[in-house]
Symmetry: C2
Subunit: 340 residues, 2 copies
């Protein structure tokens, strides 16, 4: 005698009434509901999720797909931890669980997602590591599964996404550097086929354009995400006919490598090269002079993802207008970006 039948016998009520009471459906006597809830609590009853899913067609959970691929994972670290927490904070009150679905590094992302979706493991999906043309989006659209992405594709229009405000970052950084007299501003973007590199580059070019500064492709460096990538770039920045006087980074730890190489060359950040970093993470806070970079709330990003997902989850199909939310990033001025 297990599950709901145990409650039914204990309470002398039908399955239906118990189910309705437990699920907060209308049309249950308040006193009956109280009794059911009390008995459930007392007997430690939790509904069997498989049975519930099969009967209702809903799993009560949301999947968050991440890559276990090395390059992206390296930057992922604490990034996703913060996001997950934000997502949960919005999901839990709605009785929804978050299931993180790690796609093995060896496995094809599309095939992995296809299987998750076909097996009906979750009611909705959150995708990350978005590529400029990401087939996963069409997959989810074709099977009518509710989803939202962390990051956007090149044609970011007909679905909901949340992304960092790369445009805002590019503009704030360029505005500030130009105001300080810089004209030769370099940027780093990922070598990967990740779309945010493209977004950022475009935004950067636009920000330069606003100040009537020509965009120089030679000052765009496609690099990995590591500390060593920052290290390697310094000589390329400085030892050229027209050296860069400033650099804007998309990865946290690259700044550490830049500082190190500058130190080796007896140069000073903010004096010999203006540097603006990306996220204000613990790992870069010890740099001296302090690294000017951007503050953002991962928790807010997570909440935004859940918030975009929830209405669609409640009433699928009636999609409404897609949500496009850019998580604001606020510049934190320190000492690494002095005048030219």
């Amino acid at each position: 005698m297990k599950g709901i039948s145990r409650l039914a016998r204990e309470l002398q009520l039908s399955y239906g009434t118990i189910s309705r009471a437990l699920n907060n459906k209308s049309g249950v006597n308040a006193e009956t509901r109280r009794k059911v809830l009390e008995a459930a609590e007392r007997l430690g009853y939790e509904p069997n999720q498989a049975a519930r899913s099969l009967a209702s067609g809903r799993t009560g959970s949301v999947g968050f797909m991440i890559d276990l691929d090395h390059e992206t994972a390296a930057s992922g670290d604490n990034f996703f931890i913060g996001i997950f927490d934000g997502v949960q904070s919005e999901l839990t009150p709605h009785g929804l669980d978050l299931l993180v679905l790690p796609c093995p590094s060896r496995q094809d992302k599309f095939a992995y997602l296809d299987r998750v979706v076909s097996r009906r493991l979750v009611d909705g999906m959150i995708l990350s590591g978005i590529e400029p043309e990401d087939a996963r989006i069409e997959l989810l659209q074709s099977v009518e599964m509710t989803f939202v992405t962390m990051g956007r594709t090149a044609l970011a229009d007909d679905y909901s996404w949340v992304d960092l405000d790369f445009e805002g970052v590019a503009e704030a950084a360029v505005d500030r550097l130009v105001a300080q007299g810089h004209q030769r501003i370099a940027v780093t973007v990922p070598t990967e086929d990740l779309n945010f590199g493209r977004v950022f580059k475009n935004a950067f070019a636009a920000a330069l354009g606003k100040h009537r500064i020509a965009f120089d492709p030679e000052l765009v460096f496609q690099t990995g995400l590591g500390e060593e990538d920052g290290y390697d770039i310094v000589d390329q920045l400085l030892d050229r006919p027209r050296p860069a006087t400033a650099i804007l980074l998309l990865f946290e730890v690259a700044a550490i490598g830049i500082y190190r190489r500058l130190a080796e060359r007896n140069l000073t950040p903010g004096v010999d090269l203006a540097i603006i970093g990306f996220r204000d993470e613990a790992i870069i806070r010890h740099l001296r002079p302090g690294l000017t970079c951007f503050d953002l709330s991962l928790h807010e990003a997570g909440r935004a993802l859940a918030t975009a997902l929830l209405p669609q989850l409640d009433r699928p199909k009636q999609s409404g207008a897609p949500v496009h939310f850019k998580v604001p990033m606020e510049i934190m001025v320190r000492e690494s970006d002095g005048p030219q």
Copy 2:
């Protein structure tokens, strides 16, 4: 007409036969099986997981519970990414999925797990962030859910665990430092109530004992996991009646802070203070002089977790002897731990 019934009509076979063919059960004609598999492939059939779970009592997935708590999460980052990949590599061939279950920072870990277990979301669990006395273990034992832990409790005997070889680390590091003339060796352990701090401290005391060096509690520093915690410790190490001459770390990034503070005091790692770090992560590889630390395979750790879990998953109850596996950590000698 969906799911298995579509196949049934297409093939003119009963549900039972199709199910048996799909699930690789014995007693199906080879030709029949081939036809079923072909049709399933062609029609893109994937069994509904809820129905399958309800009927079979097995979910086909393994849960990996992680904390979203800040302190532990900070170190977690790439650590877990590597482990997940190792776990998957063993699970996938068995048709099992890995579901990462992030416990929100605000939520009680026991209650979170209790709910997961009661709802029968997974067939087996992997636990991390193990405390010296971790009630979650008794919970899983009492409901007879298969599990293995990443890390061990104080009484690590009647269940399977995989842990880093803290004993090996302590011994190798102490042996090496003592051989170089060090007698005043300090260590950092987590302030948290995480058991690995305890394990490491005991192993460290034992390693000292082997060399007949008294264990001095004043040289054990309970600190956070951050770079700044390393920074803060340097003065405490050196500005005391009998200064420490060496330090052994449990966290990767603490070394960065130690280097920084030493540089400020015009002291050199490996000359004025011997330092042995923990994991050989990208983030510490740029340190000069190079940080002596330990190499380990996260992938192997993940594989060990899955390997310990799989036999129990196949035949529950017939537990067999619990697996206790320590992931070897090999010392990588660089320049930060010179003679006294």
